[in-house]
Amino acid sequence: MDSISVKHIEKGKFQVIVILILAILTFLSSVFALGLGSSSNLDMLTVWEIVFYDIYLVLTNLDVVLRNLEYNLLPCIGIGTEECINRSLVYGIEFKGTTIQRSIIYDWRLPRIFTAIIGGIALAVAGALMQGCLGNPLVSPLTLGVASGAALGAALAIVLGFTILSVPELAIVANAFIFSLIVVAIIIQLGKISSISAESYILVGIAITFICGAVVSAMQYFASDAQLSQLAHWSFGSLSRPNMDNIILMALVLIALLPTAIRWSWDLNALSMAGDEFAISTGVNPNKLRKNILVVSALMTSIVIAFTGLIGFVGLAAPHMSRLIVGNDFRKLIPCSGIFGAFLMIFADTLGRTLFAPIVIPVGVMLSIIGGPFFLYLLLKRGA
């Protein structure tokens, strides 16, 4: 083995170790964030005691959990009235902590942290993918107009009461998601034009953003004060909306899409390095790859944004910060961006809900306020 190869291997190993450290840091900060809050009857140690004791209890009482699962899977007993046994999986286990304490932890803080992690990973990875396949460092998941589509959907639901799904609590979410899917469909149609370039995608995205923005503005003009405030709240981007069912849905979509994206790492390396002709000479079909990547990342973005509202900055900044650590090798850049995104979201959200407690500053606002200057600093330092 010659010295250059050895150095290359060592450099690769070092980068993997940095990614692992970052992952551990992210995990620790989410544990820390779980304990941090403004509640007066719940300090950090109590939270940890309750959570870790719960994990211990569940692990030592796995037989109880399995029995509950078995009950749930039993067919409904049809005597007189239809009666189904629908038990919680942890039915029969004695837990610590008061109901309020447990509710704060499991209904309030834990969903937030899960949303932060899943949303951070999805938006940051989508950002990295889009920047790579469009060969443009200015691109973020919001560039293609997916988010504007979602905003238009939300505005239609809030202002005009036009909803596609009639379940009240999901009406806005469903509208946002379906309208962002319409934008994804436009992207797919664009991809069928054989000669479409990276710039055209960006320009079409900007056009969509303007059109949707104009319609939303028009609706705001006629909206009542209450509707305006609801719309503003939606567009701030917040982690408090999704419940556990929503989170599982987001996680499933992410788990389904991530491996597909990672499989394209080598192709993306070639395409992002030096554009279409270079990619072709390396055996990559740039148009096909670009279309696939854009659809995958737009889907990732829209499922998260539908539940959380507009969170843009993490998708721009996390990939750039990761590039400073691992370079532009997508085999490492995708995981590193994901972890960085999760870390940024947890950090910003925890700060947002503790800094001026009990006032909660929305995570989208917080991210831009603290992330923006830090991002500028990194860029200027590298440029100097």
């Binding site: 083995m1 250059i4 291997i9 080598w266 279409d276 270079f278 072709i280 390396t282 055996g283 370079g327």
Partner: protein, 266 residues
């Protein structure tokens, strides 16, 4: 490699009008012609970046299983298979996302890699870097080296790809005099040293550099072949006057190379 009756057009505008060409192994062929004669278009057609309207392009594609040396039509190969037999070096490479030089050259191994980088791939890359005197730059960023070095890195990437045919689109156009000679020498050495059959097709503007370093010259005039053969036969005063519309005198140097002196436009 053989090209038969190749036609290409941009809309109504016919760029290539029936080009015939054959390249033997271990041969360096230069394409000369005025701007818009179809030099780059021809090269891009060969690499299927552009789709020709008519005509066939065949190339030796030795499959991994057998040593079969039959000619294969390029349109029957998928892009990965094609990139194993030919490698295109673009005129200039701009990048928004820079990488280490080592990783850029490693991209040349991409058609041979599935996911993991093997030790063979790594040693092939460092071998190539050494061969092109780039080992000092291995861990510099691609956007922080000079234009000549960058051109050599992109050539190194093509070499690491281990193809049978190299396609160069004006490899010397952005370089100073010394770098031009270095790059051409490096291409020549590469083709002559190779144990496996390799050849190079170069689109170029500088007549003297083309004459000095190529085995054959293809003179393109308005989309069709004006002359094809060794420099001495192709680069006559008459041909140059007809194709480039300049007055010139052609002489033979002591080393046996052609030298063209250009005087004035006609």
């Amino acid at each position: 490699m053989s090209v038969k009756d190749l036609y290409f057009s941009w809309g109504e505008n016919e760029v290539l009008k029936g080009v015939d060409l054959s390249i033997k192994s271990n041969e360096v062929v230069s394409i000369l012609g005025i701007n818009g004669a179809g030099k780059s278009t021809l090269i891009k057609c060969l690499n299927t970046i552009l789709k020709p309207k008519k005509g066939t392009i065949k190339i030796i594609a030795n499959s991994e299983e057998s040593d079969d040396v039959s000619l294969t039509d390029v349109s029957s190969l998928d892009l990965v298979a094609l990139s194993r037999v030919m490698s295109y070096v673009p005129q200039s490479v701009r990048t928004s996302f820079s990488m280490d030089v080592f990783d850029v050259v490693l991209l040349g191994r991409k058609p041979h890699i599935k996911w993991r980088i093997s030790d063979d791939d790594r040693s092939k890359v460092s071998e190539t870097l050494r061969y092109l005197n780039l080992e000092d730059f291995a861990f510099r960023k691609f956007d922080q080296i000079s234009g000549g070095e960058r051109q050599r890195v992109i050539i190194a990437k093509a070499v690491a790809q281990d193809p049978n045919l190299f396609l160069f689109d004006e490899p010397t156009s952005d370089l100073d005099l010394k770098n031009q000679i270095q790059v051409m020498k490096c291409i020549k050495k590469l083709i002559k040293d190779s144990e496996t059959p390799k050849s190079a097709l170069i689109a170029i503007h500088d007549i003297n550099i083309a004459a000095r370093y190529s085995d054959k010259i293809l003179l393109l005039d308005n989309g069709s072949v004006r002359a094809f053969g060794p420099p001495k036969e192709v680069l006559t005063e008459e041909n140059i006057a007809d194709v480039f519309s300049v007055k010139s005198s052609v002489e033979l140097t002591d080393e046996g190379y052609i030298r063209v002196l250009v005087y004035d436009e006609i």
